[in-house]
Amino acid sequence: MISLELYNYWVVIFLMMAGFYILITSNHLIKKIIGLNIFQTSVFMLYISMGKVAGGTAPIAVEGVSNYSNPLPHVLILTAIVVGIATTSLALALVIRIKEAYGSVQEDEILEMDQIADHGKAEDEDNQADSSGASSK
């Protein structure tokens, strides 16, 4: 029933879950982004490992070889990697702005500040003015 032929999926699932776990538990926003990256790469690996054919070689035509791996997943992942770095940089830019607005990149501290800003408006007037002033800069 359980065959070892499926191990590539298990590795992918393990990576995916590790990334997911980092994403949930970690407190630091940059670490969350790294977790997201790991999640992303697990998807890359899923595609690439599905494209592999036993006995095939890289999909660049040469004389006398007829068994190639599937080029389609390669194309999808190739573009996905470049898009992935672009989106990662967007996330990092957001982190920088958060750091400038809140002075922190710890998730719980940011949530705390939000709480104060939302519920304690009367007594924390200056605090909110601070953060909104910083974010509109």
Binding site: E5, I13, I34, K52, P59, L78, I81, I85, T87, R97
Partner: protein, 313 residues
Amino acid sequence: MLVFTTIAIVRLRNLFAIVMLSGIYSLLLANIFVTLDAVDVAFTEASVGAGISTVLMLATIGITGYDIKARSNIRRLVPLIVVSITGAVLVYGTMDMPAFTDAMAPIHQHVAPRYIIDSPQEIGIPNMVTSVLASYRGYDTMGEVIVVFAALVGVLSLIGIRETKVVPNYLEPPARPILQVMAKLMIPFIILFALYVQFHGDFGPGGGFQAGVIFSVAIILYTLTFSQYDGMRLMPPKILKILAASGVLIYGGTGIWTILKGGTFLNYSVLGDTSVAGQHLGILVIEFGVGLTVATTMMLLFFAFVSRGDSKR
């Protein structure tokens, strides 16, 4: 190979925000891609994962600081349970999947044989990845290029580029003479190599995405070893912004060109005398557009992050 990565990830959970390990992780990943025959993907992962993303991560960490305060450890167990259950369900789901390297898997049945068997004749270039990327799935690639461009616009509108007015004193002896001499030696070769990858992508692994990243890496090396002022004088961000947009325009313009020639959008067969020549020309132009956009985007991202870090200190 796969086991190495999993170990790396298990340990990565324990070590906090160590970008070094994510660099190693991406090197490993690229190794795995090579062993799984995905040379083009390994190429991209090599240049993007180990080079650019490490640099950007470090720039951000430099701005936000290294310190990590651990959250109070009450909520460790629940996520672990959630993750384990999700993983178990996914593992159960794989029981019906085709076995690894099975040539009869559904993924290899529908369009893939057409790409493999027909593309060397139809497009006339041996690298199937390039032909699929630029010709058969040209719409997808155009979308990806636009996404990259949109991300660039997002980053620029979020943090922007602050041009430095600090002119380095050229009369002083340089701080790192050996590195600067090395960089002077290396940069021409890197740029030459980027051009080789750009225009040799039809025959070997390579193409616009990889070449763009490699080209921008040369400029990043220059900026790192000399100064930010020098880097920005060499590649002024204003011009880079225009070039990034024009890369996308080249791509879209090729589509319009094919329409004007009487074909459909991004059908290059009408561009040349024969359909193979047309495809060849179209792919070259498209790859050039992609390379231009990617290279300028990566440079602008780098400048944006680095100048942000400098202006704060």
